[in-house]
């Protein structure tokens, strides 16, 4: 008697080979039979007309905090994702001494836009070591988690405040190596670091104070364990990105490690830079270095209200300082104060093309409902006022609950993005899942890949797209027994309808601890998701109470 059979589906096994009609038999969490399965089973999933593929792996997320209150990391499983990698960009929630908790919360708030109140009301701080954190999140875990340990956090533990001021001493380097070893022993899949991120005081995060000898010392440990190094390079500049690729290549060759950097964006003004970057990746790969750029599938869009600071205003110093460091009443007062208002208008006016194309997506008041779905240009014209003035006035009228969408800000050249997604040296990732929850929805990138790029634009084959987000990812990260549909492999499986699979519309939902909100998307066309042989989600009945998620520590290849 089998536990479960998936019948009559088209199996696309994650290898890149063409799909074929077959049943899958599952027993004790593993695939035990592929073909015509005549045996009986406790449960049958009818996949007629559907694709049966390995569960998707998302290698760049920030679900660290959410996993403390939600072992499903909703809504990623319903998008077909069965494994997530949190702890990117030098930030993980462990190891963490009690005295550093608020410092780390500040960094998560600044870098990943995770609200303070979510930490206050959603987190019981009952761990310090990485091992204790893993024990903590294992309870009720539905999704598989391959956690990175953050370099900034390691430095904070070993060096305290000096981690934000100087390089490590020789003795501290030994301590950092020892601590990294302990985290890898406890289940970390690798180390993340960042060369761009800033903390809540807009000062560089601790990882940026590490010199090359510290990176070499930590890479030496990664090499001993066969684990991966993830970095955030200065992605806004091709020369800097190329210099980072060379740095990663040297570390890869010296210590035998796999490295990955994220993100690599395509924008209208950097096509030549992207081409140069990829040429360098190819050159370094030819030397035998393992340097994997991560490319996200979705275009960049940002939603915002003035209730919280937004990435969109990061380069406008007056705006950003008001939005970042003021409370609700102070922002309202700033928008009403004639002098401040004048300064804000002057600073923002050069970006009028951006403001004019904003779409008003949500308001509370009855009188402004008529503007929903219109561009700010249209609204400003109707009200006979300027763009920036209209944006502020609508926000005042809505008590800062006017929500605007800036769509297609970049990474929206389908042909070029698809060229990258298809590239043999490119790793599909960089979703940022679980982060920036008040700016955009980081869920549904695989639906966008399969719906937009595969079905609608025909820029990738279905087999190639699935391979990229399953077996390729598993190989790069050293995740064993997953990423392929083969006998003996763990039954992490996604069943979806190729005719309808896609990401759903983005919407704002009040489901974050501390009465908080976030932007999310539902999935379209995902019928059923299995994790370790059990149904975790089905379109018909939603999430189950399965808790088969595992910690995957890996051996990077």
């Amino acid at each position: 008697m089998l536990d479960l059979i998936i019948k009559n589906g088209t199996v696309i096994d994650g290898s890149g080979m063409p799909g074929y009609r077959a049943d899958l038999g599952i027993k004790d969490g593993r695939i035990v039979k592929i073909g015509r399965v005549a045996e009986e089973a406790l449960e049958i999933v009818d996949a007629t007309g559907k694709i049966v593929s390995p569960g998707f792996i998302d290698p760049h997320t920030h679900f660290d905090a959410q996993l403390l209150w939600d072992g499903c990391a909703k809504p990623v499983i319903e998008h077909g994702v069965t494994t997530i990698v949190p702890g990117n960009c030098s930030l993980s929630l462990a190891p963490l001494k009690a005295e550093h908790r608020m410092k780390l919360v500040g960094m998560f708030n600044q870098i990943e836009e995770m609200p303070y109140k979510a930490f206050e009301e959603g987190v019981e701080w009952n761990w310090e070591t990485f091992d204790e954190f893993i024990t903590r999140i294992k309870k009720g875990l539905m999704i598989n988690v391959a956690p990175l340990v953050g370099h900034s956090v390691l430095r904070l533990w070993v060096m305290g405040n000096a981690s934000m001021q100087r390089v490590a001493t020789d003795a501290e380097l030994v301590e950092l190596q020892k601590l990294l070893s302990e985290c890898l022993d406890a289940g970390a899949i690798g180390l993340s670091t960042s060369f761009v991120d800033m903390d809540e005081t807009l000062q560089p995060v601790p990882s940026r104070y590490a010199d090359m000898r510290e990176l070499q010392a930590l890479s030496e440990v990664l090499g001993e364990y066969g684990r991966i190094l993830q970095i955030v390079p200065e992605f806004y500049d091709a020369d800097l990105t190329i210099a980072r690729i060379d740095q990663l290549a040297d570390l890869s060759l010296s210590y035998g490690i796999t490295t990955t950097f994220s993100p690599l964006f395509v924008n209208g003004d950097n096509l030549e830079g992207v081409n140069r970057t990829m040429t360098r990746v190819e050159e370094q790969a030819a030397r035998g270095a393992r340097v994997w750029p991560q490319v996200q599938t979705r275009p960049i869009d940002i939603s915002f209200s003035f209730e919280v600071s937004s990435l969109l205003f990061f380069r406008l110093r007056t705006w950003y300082s008001i939005l970042r460091f003021s409370n609700h009443e102070e922002v309202m007062a700033a928008f009403k104060d004639p002098d401040t208002r004048k300064a804000l208008i002057a600073e923002a006016t050069p970006m009028n093309p951006v403001w004019g194309s904003l779409i008003l997506r949500q308001v509370k008041s009855e009188e402004n409902q008529k503007y929903l779905g219109l561009s700010l240009s249209e609204i400003a014209e109707a009200r006979g006022d300027g763009l920036v003035e209209t944006m502020m006035d609508l926000s005042i009228e809505e008590e800062l609950q006017a929500h605007f969408l800036s769509a297609n800000l970049g990474h929206n050249n389908d042909t070029k993005v698809a060229e990258l997604l298809n590239h043999p040296n490119v790793h599909i990732g960089a979703s940022d899942g679980g982060a920036h929850i008040l700016s955009f929805s980081t869920y549904g990138d695989t639906g966008y890949l399969l719906g937009h790029f595969v079905r609608d634009k025909r820029l990738l084959t279905l087999e190639q797209a699935i391979k990229k987000v399953t077996s390729d990812t598993a190989k790069i990260w050293g995740i064993a027994d997953r990423g392929l549909l083969q006998t003996g492999y763990i039954a992490d499986i996604t069943v979806f309808d190729p005719k309808t699979v896609d990401r759903g519309d983005e919407y704002f939902v009040n489901d974050v601890p501390g009465d908080g909100f976030r932007y999310v998307r539902d999935a379209n066309g995902v019928e059923c998701v299995l994790i370790h042989g059990e149904i975790a989600f089905s379109a018909n009945s939603g999430y189950t109470d399965s808790a088969k998620g595992q910690i995957l520590s890996g051996q990077a290849s």
Binding site: Y209, A210, E283
Partner: protein, 75 residues
């Protein structure tokens, strides 16, 4: 496949500032112009927000983790 020529850069040493990098790496440049040129090639560092007043890094924006270019962008 050999490595193509890229813009020359270094990783700074722990206590490096503009002057020490010029002295070590750019002795071929006229001293009165060298620091300004080095800064112009590294606006990602030069334009960085100032460190807090109580930081030991006040007056020196260079971080140990930076990439420092030693020449202008290649054409």
């Amino acid at each position: 496949m050999s490595l193509s020529t890229q813009r020359k850069s270094i990783y700074p040493l722990a206590e490096d500032d503009w002057n020490s990098i010029v002295a070590r790496e750019l002795s071929n440049l006229a001293p009165e112009d060298a620091v300004g040129q080095l800064q112009s090639w590294n606006l990602h560092v030069f334009m960085r927000p100032a460190a807090p007043k109580d930081s030991p890094r006040v007056g020196n924006p260079i971080l140990p983790g930076d990439i420092i270019f030693l020449e202008a962008p290649l054409t």
